[in-house]
Symmetry: C2
Subunit: 223 residues, 2 copies
C-alpha cells in the first residue's frame, strides 16, 4: 500500500511539490499535532473542523463525541494535516510564500469497536501526549462508549511540501530587497500546574511530553 | 453584520465553547497564519487544502492560482482557521484535550476583479508578511491575472475556543497524577538569508515581520 500516484489525490498545482511515497506521508503525519477534517454536511455543504488525530501504522485515527454531527458521516471524508515551517520572503510579493509540509487523506472511515477501539484511543492519547498513558486514568467503559473512533487507511493519500529559499524571477534578483526564509516552529512553554494539583514539581512524564513536542516542532526533515 | 447565532454555524458540541460575537471571530482570524479551505470536488467528495488568507474588515480573503481546481468552485466553501494554544493534561486520558481558538466561515465566495483584486492581494501579502509591502516588488499585471482572489464575508461564521486548566471528574481529583496545561506557541526563528542576497544584515522590515508573528503567536487573548 502506498499513496496513490494517480487519481484524486494527485497534486495538480505546483506539482513539483507533490510527494507520494509512504515514508514522506507518514513522517508528516507523525510530526503534526492537529488535523482539519472535511465532511459534507446533511445540507450538502462542506464543513471543516479541527480534530485531534494519530498516525497508526498506515492509517490515521480520529476521535470525537458520539453526539458529534460530523462523526456520524458514513461517507467520504478528507483529513488534512499541515505543518508550517517558515515564511518565504521573496524579492517580489508574488513569489513570497510559506514553507510547509501537508498531507491530504481521502476515504470512507471505518468505525472501530471493541478491543480495536480501545487500542485506538490509547494510540490517540499517545499522539497528543506522548508517554502519558500509564500516568493518567485509563478510559472507563462509559467514556469509551461516549466516543466514536474512525480509522482511515492511507490508501488514497498525498503529501505536498515546500522547502528552501524563495524562487524569484531572474530579473528581480538585482532588486535592493532582502530575500530569505523566516523559520517557524511550534514550541511548548513551561507547563502550568492546575491549581488543584498538589504535585508541585512537573513530573518526568510531563517533561517528556514537552520534550517530544519540541522535537517534533523543531525537526525540519528534508523529505 | 455579526456571526450568526443560529443555523449551520451554531456550535452543537461542547456548546459552552462556542462564541459568536464578531470581535471574537476577527481577533482569531487576525492572529492565525493559515486557513484550511474545504470545497466539494467535481466528483462530489470533500477536499480540504491549506491556504494563505487575510482578515479584511469583516471578510476573509483567499488567493490561489487561476489554474487551481479548488479556486474554480463557484459553490459553498468552508474556511477554517485554528490556533493551538496548549495541551491540556488531565488526570484521565478522556479529559485530556487541547486549548485552541478556531473560526469556521461558510459561504459562497465572491471572485474579486479590478482595483478590489489588487487591494486584496496587497492585504493578503500584509497578513503573511506584515509591513513587507513597499519592501518588495509589487505584483505585475501578469501576476495579478495569474491569481484568483476570493472574498468571503463573515456573515455565517462562528468561533470555538477552549482555554484554561483541565476539567477532571470529581472522583479523579485525588488521583496521584499531575494535571495542568502545556502552553504551545508558534514562534519565528532567526531569518535565513537567501544565498543570492547581497544584503547580509537582516533589514528592519524583515525584523518587523518576525516581531509581529511572534507577538501573534505569543498572544493568548482571553476572549
Amino acid at each position: 500500500v502506498t499513496g496513490s500516484e494517480v487519481g484524486r489525490t494527485t497534486v495538480k498545482r505546483a506539482s513539483e511539490r507533490g510527494r507520494y511515497d509512504m515514508a514522506a506521508i507518514t513522517s508528516i503525519l507523525a510530526a503534526g499535532l492537529i488535523a482539519h477534517v472535511g465532511v459534507i454536511a446533511s445540507d450538502g455543504t462542506p464543513v471543516v473542523i479541527p480534530m485531534g488525530y494519530a498516525l497508526d501504522g498506515e492509517s490515521v485515527l480520529i476521535h470525537g463525541s458520539v453526539a458529534s454531527r460530523l462523526m456520524r458521516a458514513k461517507s467520504q471524508v478528507c483529513v488534512t494535516v499541515t505543518i508550517l515551517d517558515g515564511l518565504v520572503v521573496a524579492r517580489s510579493l508574488f513569489n513570497s510564500s510559506m514553507n510547509y509540509r501537508s498531507v491530504v487523506v481521502l476515504g470512507v472511515p471505518e468505525v472501530l469497536v471493541g478491543d480495536a477501539k480501545l487500542a485506538a484511543l490509547l494510540r490517540l492519547s499517545d499522539a497528543l501526549l506522548p508517554g502519558r498513558v500509564g500516568h493518567a486514568r485509563a478510559p472507563s467503559e462509559q467514556e469509551v462508549r461516549a466516543t466514536t473512533v474512525w480509522r482511515l487507511p492511507l490508501d488514497e493519500a498525498s503529501a505536498k511540501v515546500r522547502t528552501g529559499p524563495p524562487i524569484d524571477e531572474e530579473e528581480d534578483l538585482d532588486l535592493p530587497y532582502w530575500a530569505g526564509v523566516i523559520p517557524l516552529r511550534m514550541l511548548c512553554g513551561e507547563p502550568e500546574r492546575d491549581e488543584a494539583c498538589t504535585d508541585r514539581a512537573v513530573p518526568d512524564d510531563v517533561r517528556a511530553v514537552t520534550a517530544n513536542i519540541n522535537l517534533r516542532g523543531g525537526f525540519r526533515r528534508e523529505l
